[in-house]
Symmetry: D2
């Protein structure tokens, strides 16, 4: 499979498909094509994280960075049912989410997963529920740490409106120990104003899921995000 | 994605690709095509269980039943990093392994996974390390129960040679409570004689992994299996 | 530690202390003494399952059967932080709960835990959320299976009132494959009428937690239960 | 239960009883009394971490600090089978191990466990397999971080002999982000020379298990340790 090289740039919007039916199979591919069009039109970086089985087609048909939603760090071999990093890479993904609130991981597994990803040239975005755990996990050298207060996920109340101090303190705390880590935030992001505020507070990108995937008009939302990223 | 209808028939050979590099991506597709050719030539049922990202291509390009190695039973929605049954189905798989010794599950999760699979028309093959647990899990109405003594997995010493009584008692115990469950066995299967013995002992199929995937000449082994299935 | 021999008899009431503060330490000991008094006065079997650290004192100072709330099946040795079956036995418990809805277990771990408990002479009461999983787990030869619809736990709406058919079908299904398994039920039990109904429906005992531990007058409730058990 | 106040001081030796039969029940109590005698004789701090059910008796009969081997952070309540922090505190422990290699935890659970322990006045010693994870976890403000290369645990080859650079770099890395965290080390410690080297390399204490618990003459080993601590 020849995968076109696509680069991640900051600030970015990362769209997590979760296991929503609205973003499965063909519908997920169509959404990725919309993301690609807007990403190019506005010159901003937008990443999609589809379900595992949908990575190969999206990665080969769409020129935007594709992330996995998770991976398991065990070496290739006798590990039935695991998400091998090699399979993610081979499928055309350029990175992965790790430790999402819906898929929390052991601390040592996070370390191993980051190491394995790095060896294969996969970027890592480690999720964290608090500034403190975000700071701790940034020590493990992921490329990005995404702060998501779990109580706001899917709430429609954005972290940038409801908890601006969480974003500000996360950026400060994480940069104090790991200046090269990119700090994202997420939870409840639904419009460009949420994105704009997040960036103004020091974040280098946002994680969004239902806000795009379940939107009546995802294209409109994505344009709104793109305009915010450009300001 | 138009998926050709492929039927599972007994006795069968189920080839578990695990996370071996030898069966990832193109190499896994080639192996599946070899399996397809032999399956047709000998008129026997052979199933492959590739890594998740490889299911769509194999299911669309090869006319043999494709299984997932695992799935998570949660409903479609906010479940980042889960293997949704819908994604497996949409990708073209017709069934799934569950509770493999390398991916053991909680009892209640096995029940939920079987229910969810059935609702979507996915077959289930539940693995078990002992006859007793195989009997217990057959109560949950999976389509198949596969008995695999863990100490023999990958050993090259076949369960049918080393523990024939385990196969015999498993068949008897499982059929006594669930006459419609198909009993498979696995672990250490490397040649046609192993398969033949397993069938003679009452098994309706075998699970094999490294014995095929890491074989110097997988085609030769598969033919050997096919001849055994036809006896 | 000399532990007085205490026998379990059916029907019984098993009082799960969970991690409630109301049943920790001295308060848990006092509750156990109340249970003992009523158990003797009415000649009925009542069992308590305190937190781990409280097992030794209750088992040595009170003459009723004491259960653990959980145990881990690994052999004695390098297993830091595990609840060893030997420690439970040595502490004076005569049995253990397993697979409670708040501490679900892998199917193979349940099998191992039952085996290890039996070897040490510890009784096992395996919890199950559905009749079907209760039937499946009864195959593993626990002494008791307790059916508890999770949605009713702590609800104050008793399983015997809200889901009598669950109790009836559980008893029938479990006895059909394992005639020696004692079938208990639980969830929402708060008065003698709940207990009476449960017994009339074929259950051989009830699991209760907040209904006793958080009652304003536990003694009154326990007497009510005892009278029901005697009818 | 009146628990005598006992203070933890550095450098210290922490003796993990694991689930060894040699340190269960009366034998564990006797060992704790030996530890107490030597601790007083030499004026050094020695801590024991017995199995859960043995905490109350050791804590009430022996005047040395007693640790739990693990705890679960959920609030008191409906958490059957959990090790509640309140139960550990009530039983007389003054602290707990967390994230031992035989009981690894999710990153967010470690954070919650440290918070809950602190609220109750329980000390925390978080284990880590590498310097990097030790540094990361020190951000979560445990009282101690213990570095234990898993491949040396129970090996009889001490970390201070085999991997002195791991101790040195751990101390440096951890102190650079969390100057108040005490750095311990463990794995393969069997004699006073191992302890002495560990201290010289900057460690403020050692974790030991089989080296004491399974020793032919634990008293002799403990004296050897005490002498080393005093140098």
């Amino acid at each position: 499979m020849t995968v076109k090289q696509v680069k991640v740039a900051y600030p970015l919007v990362l769209i997590n498909y979760k296991t929503y039916l609205e973003s499965l199979g063909n519908r997920g591919l169509l959404l990725a094509k919309t993301v690609e069009r807007i990403s190019k039109e506005y010159g901003v970086c937008m990443v999609v994280a589809p379900q595992f089985v949908d990575i190969p087609r999206i990665a080969s048909e769409v020129s935007i960075p594709v992330f996995s939603q998770h991976l398991d760090p065990e070496p290739a071999g006798s590990h039935t049912g695991h998400i091998s990093p090699e399979s993610i890479k081979e499928a055309g993904a350029c990175g992965t989410l790790l430790n999402h609130s819906e898929r929390r991981l052991r601390a040592d597994i996070i370390e191993d997963s980051i190491k394995r990803s790095r060896e294969l040239g996969l970027l890592t975005c480690v999720c964290a529920n608090t500034s403190l755990i975000g700071k701790a996990l940034s020590i493990l050298n992921p490329d990005m740490v995404a702060i998501e207060p779990p109580e706001l996920i899917g709430s429609g109340i954005s972290v940038s409106k409801a908890k601006p101090e969480v974003i500000r303190s996360s950026v400060e705390m994480i940069k104090s120990v790991s200046s090269t880590t990119h700090v994202l935030c997420g939870a409840g992001i639904t419009d460009g104003m949420d994105v704009l505020r997040a960036i103004e507070l020091g974040s280098e990108g946002v994680l969004v899921a239902s806000g795009v995937v379940k939107a009546k008009d995802p294209e409109k939302i994505l344009k709104d995000f793109a305009i915010a990223l450009n300001q």
